[in-house]
Symmetry: C2
Subunit: 317 residues, 2 copies
Amino acid sequence: MSIELEDVERAAQRLAGVAHRTPVITSRTLDERKGARVHLKAECFQRGGAFKFRGAYNKISSLDKGALRRGVLAYSSGNHAQAVAIAASLLGTRATIVMPEDAPRAKLDATRGYGAEIVPYDRWTESREEIGARLAEERGLELVRPYDDPLVMAGQGTVALELLEEAPELDLLLVPVSGGGLIAGCATAAKALRPEIRVVGVEPETGDDTRRSLVAGERVRIEVPHTIADGLQAPEPGELTFEVNQRLVDEVVTVTDDEMVEAMVFLFDRLKLVAEPSGAVGTAALLSGKLDASGRSVGVVLSGGNVGAARFAELVS
Amino acid sequence: MSIELEDVERAAQRLAGVAHRTPVITSRTLDERKGARVHLKAECFQRGGAFKFRGAYNKISSLDKGALRRGVLAYSSGNHAQAVAIAASLLGTRATIVMPEDAPRAKLDATRGYGAEIVPYDRWTESREEIGARLAEERGLELVRPYDDPLVMAGQGTVALELLEEAPELDLLLVPVSGGGLIAGCATAAKALRPEIRVVGVEPETGDDTRRSLVAGERVRIEVPHTIADGLQAPEPGELTFEVNQRLVDEVVTVTDDEMVEAMVFLFDRLKLVAEPSGAVGTAALLSGKLDASGRSVGVVLSGGNVGAARFAELVS
């Protein structure tokens, strides 16, 4: 149930011409400030505004005809929902999405806009896994997990595949960590192509379940973290993702909400890039000095830009 | 003193490998909403955050060695100042910028950061033109005008040259208008390459000096307009730019401040693009329906992204 470079390469073939090949952006300002050469993989320009489309499409396009006829189901705090909705609509199937009722309005609206049916739940008292499992059974829907699925992980890994094609000399890769699918896929691709690369995860300070789990040597479950990084609130690593990340991730660093906002402002002001809080954690780790990057060639996955102007204004004011 | 396609092509050669070839961005959402095929030329990703670098570099790189030894001068509180500072530093000459002493600290710092010397003046009691003329004479500095110069116009025209290379089928081109240098260069390139294209300028409703001038058949001077589009506050068209625009611009439409903000929010939310108010006027003209684009292939020049997160927050709140 683990994945290899070949799985990521197969995903890349499925995604060719469907997912956007997002730009890799460099900044003299950032390079000078950190004494490094930084390459930002701008997944804010991915379909649906985040990397999630890669995994969702890779998964759904691998389903058989019967499953596609019945439809797919996802539970998600936002970006995965949109990704599944878009992928489903492209592949001619129906998506049902279990979403927190307090998810950012931009995300709820966008998901509905892609033609998905939304089933709301209370994320502080209800389990989305239970609701999802019940709906999947009742309606015969295929569950598209946000991270704990080899095809999803492999799809997300295409981010690193593309980044290394454009910057093959990278020796440090920073990846946001929630359930761990993005970093599992990216680490799989990156370590296979460049064994000496250091792969570092970035979590919110209050949501450091993967950091703790790696230290403990087993999956640790924490309280649902309170953080502005609404995409990084998984309370424990996935089972499959953790197996991969335990082998391939070198370190996890954490950043505060304030550091995320500073990074969002920096990306907006200097690079004219829109990052949601979860998308800005890699840049935040660099800017805050949580991580020494000097003299290095650094890849940073800017994982998404779904924050909405109103929420952005609220955060930076 | 007018310009031809060849001048724009020569500018493109000078700018190759120096200016960024900015991306042309499309959006299914925008296309569906307008029933058109829209191509946004994202000059927010240009060096200095706006198209101005093109004209400034084309001008300064054309100066002789003596002039480069003495240095260049500009008066501007905005994007042109930074563009001249960056171009001068790349070309090994010194830039002196006459800026209001109460200009935002971020702008003063950014311009100084590019190595320029700032000469502050009191905008309520002093004239920047007089200070500029005196400095130019005393120090033998070459004045780099923000628009009324053939080399500056030709440099800005490379925006349309690049856009038409990627979308040769365009039949409508929307360009922000202040002094008229950007649209003069763009119209020159666009009409030469594609005579049937319609070139439409966009001005703030309160700053429609070029619209009025085209109607009157001569340059009309208005009060310095009150608008959030701080890059579009020229009170009258340039002399050289007006000569070109009178021949080549088909129409000028106007948009309100509110329409600019709506467009900025749309660009942020849906396309993850940062536009300053002046940069958003083309999108505003489309979204507001000031212009019928249905069935057309439309180019929109998103001229810059220098708004700053704090000011953006203020505008959208």
